[in-house]
Symmetry: C3
Subunit: 135 residues, 3 copies
Amino acid sequence: MPDKVSMIVFSGTDDKLIPVGVISQAAAALGYEVQIFFTGWAMFKLLKEPMPETWPKEFEGMVPKLKEGLARVKAPSWKDMLKEAKKMGAKVYVCSLMAEAAGLKKEHFDPSLVDDIVGVTTFLENARGGQVLFI
Amino acid sequence: MPDKVSMIVFSGTDDKLIPVGVISQAAAALGYEVQIFFTGWAMFKLLKEPMPETWPKEFEGMVPKLKEGLARVKAPSWKDMLKEAKKMGAKVYVCSLMAEAAGLKKEHFDPSLVDDIVGVTTFLENARGGQVLFI
Amino acid sequence: MPDKVSMIVFSGTDDKLIPVGVISQAAAALGYEVQIFFTGWAMFKLLKEPMPETWPKEFEGMVPKLKEGLARVKAPSWKDMLKEAKKMGAKVYVCSLMAEAAGLKKEHFDPSLVDDIVGVTTFLENARGGQVLFI
């Protein structure tokens, strides 16, 4: 049985989506079974019409330099890294409770990113025996 | 031996307490051994006279809609979910170092929520061999 | 084989560095194999000339009392706790992708804190089979 890495992505600021992409892609490439469960504010980043960019208030002044640096080293966007991870088998889910509370259905989400809307129980069962990160 | 889910809850914004409640209740219902270790700002949410509501500055504008949606789908409060988890065996601890630094003793905390004040070493020993989330 | 605790430290606010120090030192003392991978904003706290203190906007008003309380209970600084953990074998790494994007090399980082700059793949391989916290 392969090792598993599961992520619960709650924070919706764009900075924290970078490690979501990086870890997903690296773990999938290493042969890990990867699942990512988007909930909270982060869920709105997966919509066909996603929430605009949001950066943490504490570090707003450092964002232009971060973006410039990531462009210079040709880092792919977090969405492109997530898509690469998905090509290697990673699964991306949206939390059914939070989607329902926001009045969102599967058709509202970008189908190139989201595999399904599932409950936390399904997520926990899939995650059993593996590593879990809360981001 | 049952699988274990342990959580370190540090962030004191109310949004992140929703997944604490949801995950606790779902994991306890699945038969996981659940322990939750409140520290940092989150500890003040467990007081008999808790800290007032605090929401992340970046998403303040979305809070009324979130609350309305959670009410519409009849989601229980995080405290009620935590209490359900506790009925199924989940344990809730407060970090002794942070409590002492804040001048707080066991009698300051809501006894319907908090089982005990313990040190991080006890938490880590209880968490050994299981999943750990930092929230 | 000893149990392992790995941490990805992304958030750069000073409050979250307290649990990084506390958990590192406690886990190392318990005999865990500990590695800490600094990335994102947190990386700038390890520079020879570190980023100034930054606290979460939501809790700024509570910071003076927190600092006063930690001083009163004689809690060591997070850097001193990290150094204690390192004496017991903990390893501290900086993320190569984020360092390169920021134009930072090994010589920019405080050698009493940082062991090496490594990629996320190395981190994940080291973390395999253990607990992983995202802070």
